[in-house]
């Protein structure tokens, strides 16, 4: 009698198991990790086909592609985790080009010894984020590095999307006179991660703003406002992103400090730690630059969306050959809002 049961393998012990080198070696263990953890969570026919790549239906229109790596520490924080962050991050990068995100890929670098239960939590979170956003994860990869050579898990996602006809958004299109809009409060994500990491336990918990912004972008495009630039102020915060745009467009900016929304708890935490919220990362906010005449209409559209109800016009584009981002302070003086020097907060996304 043949005692070999066909295709038998002991199931993954997700509750107590840990990542082993064999999970990235291309053999049975890796196949089991994919079949037992990734495939059921991400569940879509492109992934289920089990090929080296996803064969996707034909699309019409200009394509946008973007990629984003995530190394956040700690992996779990108030309002999200590395999983949801990695989905939102790439969706937002695609959406900032004015594109409807269609598909994502996800690549994992796992550290030997990482608990499978934590990995499952992360993968489930990615799955929920992708499903909520309506953007499936259609292909991926898993590698394992020896214990001590990684930090739990690093995730790289890539995304493709298609841009509506007639829409062209780019960082080089800002023109003097244009209005600068911001979709909500700044610094929430960075301070949520930092307070978790440093065990700061502020009375009012600060929650990350990580969110997929393509729905908001959709309504903004629908509004018909003449949009020139969309960008999400992630690492380096509002200040870095505005400086990037100013340089790309060859313009200056004049901001009003009193118009920039900051949550009280974030402001206090920043003050306490000697940080400037202008430089703290966001993961669910966007900057929009549009023709000044259309700003009231765009602002109204944004405020009607749940992810931008605190949107505000924070300044305007000015002609300036130095490309300075300047700000009128609450006190009534003027200052430059400069590029960040060095790093304010490492490992934030």
């Amino acid at each position: 009698m043949n005692r070999n049961k066909p295709e038998y393998a002991r199931g993954l012990d997700i509750r107590h198991g840990r990542v082993e080198m064999s999970h990235g070696a291309g053999g049975r263990a890796m196949a089991q990790l994919i079949a037992g953890l990734f495939a059921p969570a991400f569940d879509n026919p492109y992934l289920a086909s089990g090929n080296d790549g996803a064969l996707l239906p034909q699309v019409t229109g200009r394509l946008v592609m973007s990629s984003d790596s995530h190394v956040v520490s700690p992996l779990f924080f108030a309002g999200g985790d590395i999983g949801s962050l990695s989905v939102h991050g790439t969706i937002n990068d695609v959406a900032m080009m004015g594109a409807q995100p269609l598909y994502l890929s996800a690549s994992f670098i796992l550290e030997e010894g990482f608990p499978l239960s934590d990995l499952k939590r992360i993968v489930d979170s990615m799955s929920s984020a992708a499903k909520a956003a309506g953007v499936p994860i259609v292909t991926g990869d898993t590698k394992v590095v020896e214990c001590g050579k990684g930090d739990g898990v690093f995730i790289t996602t890539a995304g493709v999307g298609v841009v509506r006809d007639g829409i062209t958004l780019s960082g080089e299109l800002a023109q003097p006179g244009d209005a600068i809009l911001l979709s909500g409060t700044i610094g929430d994500h960075g301070m949520a991660v930092l307070s978790q990491r440093e065990n700061l336990g502020f009375d009012a918990p600060i929650v990350s703003d990580t969110a997929a912004l393509h729905g908001l972008v959709d309504t903004m495009l629908d509004s018909g406002a003449r949009l020139r630039v969309l960008r999400d102020p992630t690492r380096g915060g509002l200040a870095a992103t505005l400086n990037e745009i100013a340089r790309q467009s060859g313009v200056g900016m004049m901001l009003q400090e009193s118009a920039i929304p900051v949550k009280r708890a974030v402001e206090s935490a920043c003050e306490f730690l000697g940080l400037d919220p202008l430089y703290v990362a966001n993961e669910g906010k966007l900057i929009a630059i549009c023709d000044a005449q259309d700003a009231p209409r765009l602002l109204e559209t944004m405020r009607a969306h749940p992810l931008a109800c605190e949107a505000a016009v924070i300044g305007e584009i000015v002609a300036d050959s130095y490309n300075f981002v300047q700000m009128t302070t609450k006190l009534g003086g003027r200052r430059v809002v400069d590029w960040l020097t060095g790093e304010q907060l490492p490992r934030i996304c």
Partner: protein, 371 residues
């Protein structure tokens, strides 16, 4: 934020500004030195210069602990990390100060030296506890504000028998620097000082009395919030107008005449005056810095590792020295904003956010562009 927003209020600022404009009528103008880097930073960050009339001029002083540290002192720290194999613990700002051989502590770290950024002396003590087989040196810098925490750490290390812990002591004294600025031969004509905020919480307002009495210079101790600074400027203008030279205290919510006696006792228990100490910009000043007392010699990294101090000249084009003495404005330095920027500083004043050059570059360089 309670106790913060009140001191950043735009309407109040305009009100004080109006009083300053109305009262600052002396034809010779008002040259006021803000001693502290914290004030320099506040003035630049909040754009206070825009609220002052042109005849009230703020001159940046030497009160930035990273800026006054001469190259030779950072060289000592790098030597400890690279050649003695110690874990060198330092506050973040010091990491980027350029020193000999185009090195910084950050470059030494990238090169393999074990340099760690800490937020407090307690972090450094914890590193000593966690690494009993390694020597751990805390790069102790700063004025009177950061000295008491260093004293606490040294006492704790002695109590806990942490013999792998020591400090590279570079604590300096504010009044000594003010004396140097006012000493005969100084090229700066000053009408008064915005006196230190945090330093004064420790030493009190009393140590400034000789400057008012002997040099005839008004001193107004001010907090680091923008309205503190503006109120202090108004108080200085009023003293100058009335021909008074007194020590006044705007920062009464934190500073008393005698200061923090407990902190002073702690510092006195652990430290004694050095005979002399070299400052960047101010030269070698007698009795201007501290060293550990003989009973704490085991925690003195200079003695423990036998590293002597070698003075090193600043970069030839760098004007940090004149800027620290208040003789020059950052824009008068040839390499300001060209060879020397916050991303690749040549001199120490471009490193710390409290440095006059870094503050002016980061917040105020549109002013030159507009000229």
């Amino acid at each position: 934020m309670k106790y913060v927003d009140e001191f950043r209020d735009g309407a109040l600022a305009r009100n004080i500004a109006a009083h300053i404009a109305l009262e600052a009528t002396a034809p010779s103008g008002y040259r006021l030195m803000e001693f502290c880097g914290g004030h320099t930073h506040a003035i630049s960050r909040y754009g206070i210069a825009d609220l002052l009339p042109p005849n009230v001029r703020m001159i940046h002083g030497p009160g930035c602990p990273v800026c006054v540290l001469p190259i030779g002192r950072v060289d000592q720290a790098i030597c400890l990390a690279r050649e003695q194999g110690v874990i060198l613990c330092t506050y973040a700002d010091t990491l980027r100060v350029p020193c000999s051989d185009s090195l910084t502590l950050m470059r030494a770290k990238a090169d393999g030296a074990d340099v760690r950024m800490v937020y407090s002396t307690q972090d450094a003590l914890n590193i000593s506890r966690d690494n009993p087989g390694r020597e751990v040196v805390f790069f102790a810098i700063g004025f009177e504000t950061t000295t008491p925490p260093t004293a606490v750490a040294v006492r704790q290390a002695r109590t806990a028998g942490l013999h792998n812990f020591s400090i590279l002591c570079n604590h300096v004294l504010t009044p000594a620097a003010m004396h140097a600025i006012l000493a005969t031969g100084s090229k700066v004509a000053l009408d008064g000082f915005v006196g230190p905020a945090h330093v004064s919480t420790v030493i009190g307002s009393q140590p400034y009395e000789p400057f008012a009495r002997d040099y005839g210079k008004p001193v107004v101790i001010a907090g680091f919030e923008p309205l503190d600074v503006m109120q202090a400027i108004l108080m200085l203008v009023r003293q100058v107008n009335a021909g008074r030279a007194e020590v006044e205290n705007e920062f009464t919510r934190a500073v008393s005449r005698t200061g923090n006696l407990k902190a002073q006792a702690l510092v006195d228990e652990c430290f004694e005056l050095r005979d002399a100490f070299e400052w960047r910009g101010l030269g070698t000043l007698p009795h201007s810095a501290l060293q550990l007392r003989p009973e704490f010699a085991g925690f003195d990294a200079e003695l423990k590792f036998g590293i002597g101090y070698v003075a090193v000249a600043d970069h030839k084009a760098c004007e940090c020295a004149a800027i620290l003495r208040g003789e020059k404005h950052p824009r008068e330095c040839r390499i300001f904003g060209t060879a020397c920027t916050p991303a690749s500083p040549v001199g120490s004043c471009m490193v710390s956010s409290e440095g006059a050059c870094a503050a002016h570059y980061t917040y105020g360089r549109f002013r030159e562009a507009a000229q």
